[in-house]
Amino acid sequence: MSTATVVQDRKPSAGGVNRTFLWIEIKRMLRNRRTIIFTVFMPAVFFFIFGLSNKDKLLPNGHSYGQYILISLTVYAAMTAATGAGSQVAVERAQGWSRQLRLTPLLPGAYIAVKAMAALTLSLVAVVAQFVIGALAGVTMDAQTWLTAGLVAWLGSLVFAALGLFVGYLMPSQNVMQILGPALAILAMLGGLFMPIEIMGETFGNIAKFTPAYGIGQLARSPITGEFDWAWIVNVVIWLVIFVAGAAMAFRRDTKRV
């Protein structure tokens, strides 16, 4: 029976991460048709348009364009998925859900952790989907390459989960992805995910190196290009720090208001 008559001094709740919370978050994302279109369908269409016709052409180092484009578009799919998942906080703020959560023991850090985990789940779906589509279309790579490229694309998407959270806390919009979608396409292009940096021309090529998708793309493709540069790691880390700091700042501003 109810214990409401007796006001116990309960111990304060740790307000944490748990399976129910994470599972409902994941279900919500997978049910969202727009999310699936952006993260699975669109990159697949890009692959069929740009990748399939050039599948058997060769890069200067002997690797196939098909591999290059499949990995690049997988990075694009993962970053779109993670950004989309992070940006859902905009929708939750608009619906007053964030405010409702402040009436529960949930700690802000735990909320962000669950959002990040949900974003990683969705980007994993995106990575696996692209690889399956690529493999079915006839792209072959050795196991090591599939694994390394997949892991980089997947874990690198965390940078974009932070970007999604950052923008989600900044914007009141219900349709935050309508702004982020085109922005991500531009970042993907500048990061060399839609075409090799070498064919962009010198000016754009130089700008590209400082954009957030560049480092992850280069790292994901390194198994097939055989190249490695610490500058790529630096690129990823710096953008991660920028987006996490931005998200933290926007989050604090958001909770102070009301």
Binding site: M1, D9, P12, K27, R31, R102, L103, P105
Partner: protein, 312 residues
């Protein structure tokens, strides 16, 4: 029962301004465990602002709040307080049951989801998407969410706004049944009938401060009383000490204003024992008294009966 002496809510000297608007001005409120309190006032009286401060959703400019002896955040972390907000706070894309499950997942210990749904009267629509629920069903869902931590204190901010009569009645039946189990309930409303029907204590707020505070019966008495006005020589002010008890007595510029539940006794005393003249008795109905107590210009337009000085 160890903390029975600790008030459910203790708010002292609350002030809150938004730019130039001084929404809450020195509000003090203490609510004992088990009380059902109506926070009654017109729109813009500062009810929601006060509730936000009690819940720790906003910080008072001045003053302090404690809930069962803890800070608002501490009480929330212990699951001791929950709230039913006026609007928002629901995710449209999940079901009723998922909403409650999600809310329950935030607490270390919570009531079973189906029990809570049943108590709020929404068990049969548990698998419905939130966006497909009517306003009244959504409000009962907010109520169900508030019940998951089995809180000692439940705060409702204008819970029946926008509901039809039947929805409102169903909602209050659920709340009332629940309150009988001993939960402390504070609800904000601008409906006089709701405060009258469901609260055992009414706190009337106007322009950010409390103008009246008492049991429903006391407030009703205050509200259904009459106002006696008379001209009284300043030299006879001392005689007012012998007057029958009244809710309020004011004397300003030779004019006496007495708010009383027994206007006959007051008028009889004034005419028999003092030099009072130009006596007026104004009868207020419940609605007018509410407006008078809480309106922006607290001068009621009411039916008044004027007696000539020599009538009695």
């Amino acid at each position: 029962m160890t903390t029975a002496s600790v008030p459910a809510v203790h708010a002292a000297g609350l002030h809150k301004s938004f730019g130039k608007v001084h929404a809450v001005r020195g509000l003090d409120l203490t609510v004992q465990p088990g009380e059902v309190v109506a926070f009654l006032g017109p729109n813009g009286a500062g009810k929601t602002t006060t509730i936000d401060m009690i819940l720790g959703l906003s910080t008072p400019d001045q003053g302090s709040v404690s809930i069962f002896g803890h800070t608002p955040r501490g009480a929330i972390a212990r699951g001791q307080v929950a709230a039913v907000m006026q609007t928002g706070g629901l995710l449209r894309d999940i079901t009723v049951r998922e909403t409650v499950q999600l809310n329950a997942a935030m607490f270390d210990s919570s009531r079973p989801v189906d029990e809570v749904l049943a108590r709020a009267g929404i068990l049969e629509i548990a698998d419905r998407k939130v966006e497909k629920c009517s306003g009244g069903q959504q409000q009962r869902l907010r109520f169900a969410m508030a019940l998951v931590s089995d809180p000692g204190l439940l705060i409702l901010d204008e819970p029946t706004t926008g509901m039809d009569v039947a929805g409102r009645r169903d909602f209050w039946t659920a709340i009332r049944t629940d309150a009988q189990r001993g939960r402390t309930v504070i609800f904000a409303t601008h409906y006089l009938e709701e405060a009258d029907a469901y609260a055992d204590r009414i706190v009337l707020v106007r322009q950010g401060s409390i103008v009246a505070d008492g049991t429903a019966a006391q407030i009703k008495n205050l509200a259904s009383g009459r106002t006696v006005k008379a001209s009284l020589p300043a030299t006879e002010r001392g005689l007012l000490a012998g007057m029958p008890p009244a809710e309020s007595v004011e004397y300003d510029g030779g004019r006496l204003t007495v708010r009383t539940g027994d206007s006959d006794a007051v008028v009889r005393y004034l005419l028999n024992n003092t030099g009072a003249h130009d006596v007026e008795v104004a009868a207020n109905n419940l609605e007018e008294a509410f407006v008078a107590l809480t309106g922006d210009d607290a001068v009621p337009e009411s039916t008044s009966i004027t007696f000539e000085g020599d009538l009695v």
